[in-house]
Amino acid sequence: MIPAKECVAMLLAGGEGKRLGPLTREMAKPAVPFGGKYRVIDFTLSNCFNSGIYIVGVLTQYQPLVLNMHIGIGSPWGLDRKSGRVAILPPYVDKKGGRWYRGTANAVYQNFYFIDQYDPQYVLVISGDHIYKMDYSKMLHFHKEKEAEATIAVIEVPWEEAGRFGIMITSEDGRILEFQEKPQQPQNNLASMGIYIFNKEVLKKYLHKDERNSKSSKDFGKDVIPMMLKEGCRMYAFPFRDYWRDVGTVESLWEANMDLLSDKPALDLYDRDWRIYTVNPNQPPHYVAPYAHVKRSLVNEGCMIYGRVEHSVLFPGVYVGEGSVIKDSIIMPHARIGCNVKIEKAIIGEKTVVRNFCQVCSLEKEHPEIILIKENIIIPENAVITSTVIGHKKVN
């Protein structure tokens, strides 16, 4: 267990998540629902608690209300304690005026006074966009053992995808020799996970330096890390070999949900020694009717299922009528699916109503696209939906 003030976490939660389309129209990417119960940020917050890191600054900027309400003072994650706390850190106005966050590094720079309050030796910088379970105290242990100034968590990615990541070239003992941001010809397949531990004073120095550089985009990956490497900082790569997913696109979000449905998923939500916490809904047990059929699925409380649910994820309070078939889909809280509806490879938004005899599935059979139906709308009887439904208009 890390003593309270050894390490403070700064959690970047301001991401707009443009590629998630309508899912992030009214909330930031870390607030997107996941896994039948959670929001994406629950994984990093639970990791903090389970790693014994109790002081977490959450940097928000884009559509923060859902996130603010969700996080509160951190009670669901056990972070509302005398020796720790969650602080939401939105952009603000001071005597010098108001400044929006201009990049991940700038967001931390603007809130360095928050870190200084606790005078920690180390600062953990993480983002609320990824699904994974990781014991940060082990990474901190590694960081101290290596006497590093900065440590970056890395994961092996398939060579053919390496070009999409920040790639590390390391020496045998893990020291980072070179960093290539999205290289066209990657020389390695160790990708940065966007999880950093810095010695506080080192971080402070380089954030100040980066701030003064007018050409910098104020980003950790693009600007701060390369500058530190160039100036010869002692930086190490901490290898991570477990499940880790960026859920930045509709496809990756859908896939990460589907990953949970295998009999022995790489990410185990049922492990009592590393629980994922979230705000608990208060709904009765879900009901499965006599002729219903549920297989390879996650189903939350408050659902009522009269139809077939296969290989799907149902959030709380979902209703599935008789004769309906739901397959390879994600149904958000309190959506209501009528009778004899067919839904395949779709994401149905919160509280949306899909009336009887609708069909929601792509015409493409080989590699169907994921169909997204936005929240709070009504799909009328007999509608046939073959592609994503967004915008304010109701289908007719």
């Binding site: 608990n280 047990p285 879900h286 002729y291 219903a292 297989k295 699925s297 939350n300």
Partner: protein, 370 residues
């Protein structure tokens, strides 16, 4: 409702539900997949706007305390008022003579409470009621006491409950002193009643001198001629749990979705202590029909007409039928469970069979391995 307080009166030291009440009082018996009996009345009070509830209990109340904590889950952790658990001040209880005795120990709680009326309720009633109808009726009649009653529809309902007779307008003329003695009435009294706090305090204060210490028997029934006692019909779903047979039957009633929807949604949610459990996971071999499942379950077997509490693990090939499986039970591969109630954390090994009789379920006690 600002003027109404709640009193939940758990006035029984014996074991009406056999092993299920072996180490817990009846109000904390698990029910409906994730609740305990007390949750229903407590949520009804909270949803109706009652901010001050005293839970009077005699013994075996540790699980009740663990469950209720500070009342926050029922929105009762308020500044100044909230939820109070009130056990007798002094043990042994060998001299215990009735609920007024325990109330007397906590007279200062009644003095301190600012409310003018009290809803007094037993702790074994399954319902979801908005009490404002009762309160309005009570005030319109300037009643001293207003009691819920149900019209009997068929035989076998509301066993062990007292019957009552009312005049036109609702005035209660008579209540059975001993259940089962009144032939000519089909109205049963539900042990939820609203009474003037001043009267309640008076009855408590007067209870010491003599041996008469039962609020209902000595305070209300005996004085029924002197008091303005009214009856108020309850029309919605309601059941009283006084025996294992009733427990089993009324549990299974939840599989009726009309009752499920009325009980859990109609007058607001039923609150309980939340637990951090993931959704239920249905694996390849799962086959579930006409059942309720709370979060945290892992299902690989066959489940019919059953209620599964949080965190139950049903292994491949296991078959569960007409049963109630409480929190964190584990049913091994190919085990067969029928007409059974498995208390918390019990464990049935692979291949074993646990069978009770229809309407006479077998009970597997807490933490037992079979």
């Amino acid at each position: 409702m600002r003027d109404v307080m709640g009193v939940i009166n758990i006035d029984s030291m014996d074991e009406p539900l056999e092993e299920l009440t072996g180490t817990r009082c009846i109000a904390s018996v698990p029910f409906g997949g994730r609740y305990r009996l007390v949750d229903f009345v407590l949520s009804s009070m909270s949803n109706s706007g009652v901010h001050n509830v005293g839970v009077f209990t005699l013994n075996k109340y540790r699980s009740l305390m663990d469950h209720l904590e500070d009342g926050k889950s029922w929105d009762l952790n308020k500044k100044e008022e909230g939820l109070f658990i009130l056990p007798p001040n002094n043990y042994p209880l060998v001299n215990y003579r009735g609920d007024l005795h325990n109330f007397y120990d906590h007279l200062d709680y009644f003095y301190r409470s600012r409310q003018k009326q009290a809803i007094v309720s037993a702790g074994n009633i399954i319902c979801n009621i908005n009490f404002s109808g009762l309160v309005n009726f009570h005030r319109e009649n300037s009643a001293h006491i207003t009691i819920f009653y149900k019209e009997l529809q068929g035989a076998g309902e509301f066993e062990h409950c007292r019957k009552l007779k009312t005049a036109k307008g609702g005035r209660v003329l008579q209540i059975e002193e001993e259940p089962g003695t009144m032939e000519d009435s089909d109205r049963v009294m539900i042990e939820i009643y609203l009474m003037e706090k001043a009267l309640l305090v008076e009855l408590i204060e007067n209870s010491t001198g003599n041996g008469s210490c039962s609020l209902l028997r000595d305070g209300i029934i005996k004085n029924i001629g002197d008091l303005r006692v009214y009856g108020f019909p309850h029309h919605g779903y309601l059941s009283v749990i006084n025996s294992v047979e009733q427990y089993y039957r009324h549990s299974m009633e939840l599989l009726n979705t009309k009752i499920y929807e009325e009980l859990f949604f109609k007058h607001g949610l039923v609150y309980t202590k939340v637990k951090d459990e993931p959704p239920v996971k249905y694996l390849e071999g799962a086959s579930v029909s006409n059942s309720l499942l709370a979060n945290g379950c892992l299902i690989e077997g066959d489940i019919q007409n059953s209620i599964l509490f949080r965190g139950v693990n049903i292994h491949r090939g296991a078959r569960v039928k007409d049963s109630i499986i409480m929190q964190k039970c584990e049913i091994g591969e190919n085990a067969v469970i029928e007409n059974a109630i498995l208390d918390k954390e019990s464990h049935v090994s692979g291949g074993r069979t646990v069978k009770g009789q229809k309407n006479n379920p077998v009970i597997i006690p807490k933490r037992k391995s079979v």
